[in-house]
């Protein structure tokens, strides 16, 4: 069951300790069932999508606003809920349970920003909060803009316009 690796003598002479640690860690590693993860992500993500469409239909039914503005309000509601639950501390637990089901919807974007803001606030308003609030969400914005600019230029130069 256990594979004993050959580890050369380290400077501090902790070979036995390292070996033992690896074996123990391997033994206690949680099993990572891929199929179960995938199904959980499918159901959780699907429920978030269902919630989004449900909010749009409710808003359209009760307030008679157009579908596009209902979509905008729905995005704001989802961002608000995700930010608030991140700040209250239980969104992280949900993410470890449902993984991509909550990270891929817009809730993941709000979660990354709020958690960065919470973590770096104690380092000051400028070099802490201000510099790090886009630490995780920045890559999404950067590559989104680069891709949109590139594909938009291609589409524009080819003559097709929406």
């Amino acid at each position: 069951m256990y594979e004993i690796k050959k580890i050369g003598n380290t400077k501090n002479g902790d070979t036995m300790k390292n070996q033992k640690y690896e074996l123990i860690a391997k033994d206690h590693q949680a099993p990572n069932p891929r199929l179960k993860n995938a199904i959980i992500a499918f159901i959780a993500g699907g429920l978030v999508g269902l919630l989004g469409e449900g909010i749009i239909e409710l808003l359209c039914y009760y307030t008679h606003i157009s579908r596009s503005s209902a979509g905008t309000i729905m995005i704001v509601i989802l961002i608000f809920v995700a930010s608030l639950s991140t700040a209250l501390g239980f969104f992280d637990k949900l993410v470890t349970k449902f993984k991509c089901g909550l990270l891929i919807p817009i809730t993941g974007f709000a979660h990354s920003m709020t958690s960065a803001a919470l973590d770096y606030r104690k380092e000051g308003p400028i070099y802490g909060l201000g510099a790090n609030i886009f630490k995780l969400a920045g890559s999404v914005i950067l590559y989104g803009i680069i891709a949109a600019w590139f594909f938009g230029m291609v589409r524009f130069l080819l003559g097709g316009r929406i």
């Binding site: 159901i43 749009i56 891929i104 709000a110 709020t114 999404v140 803009i145 891709a147 594909f151 938009g152």
Partner: protein
């Protein structure tokens, strides 16, 4: 019907992301960036607009719609301003999401303290 389509589409996007996450070394940051690029790519042929017509709100929820609305706003402005419109209209449709996320993140970080 739109509700079921929303469930299926959003779940489909999430299951693809989960499969990529489990089977490769990519982190969630890589995957969300990749999906935004995919969304922008799909809308460069107006394909994502057709998805939104069929699926409804479920297509607006995943992060792919972020890329879609970036390029959609940019191309919509090119009617008026030509090639400069790509720069002017980039944030037209996503401004709500980004601004809301910034404001809520800032306000909640002032009020709440990190739990761990």
């Amino acid at each position: 019907m739109l509700l079921i389509n929303s469930f299926l589409f959003c779940g489909f996007v999430c299951i693809i992301a989960q499969i990529i996450l489990d089977n490769t070394k990519l982190t969630p940051g890589h995957i969300t960036s990749l999906f935004v690029v995919i969304g922008a790519f799909l809308d460069s042929f107006s394909f994502y607009d057709k998805i939104i017509k069929v699926v409804g709100g479920g297509a607006l929820v995943p992060i792919t719609s972020f890329g879609h609305s970036l390029i959609h706003g940019a191309l919509a402005k090119t009617h008026e301003y030509g090639i400069l419109g790509i720069l002017m209209g980039m944030f037209d449709l996503t401004a709500t999401g980004i601004t809301a996320a910034i404001i809520f993140a800032f306000l909640f970080s002032l009020v709440f303290k990190p739990k761990n």
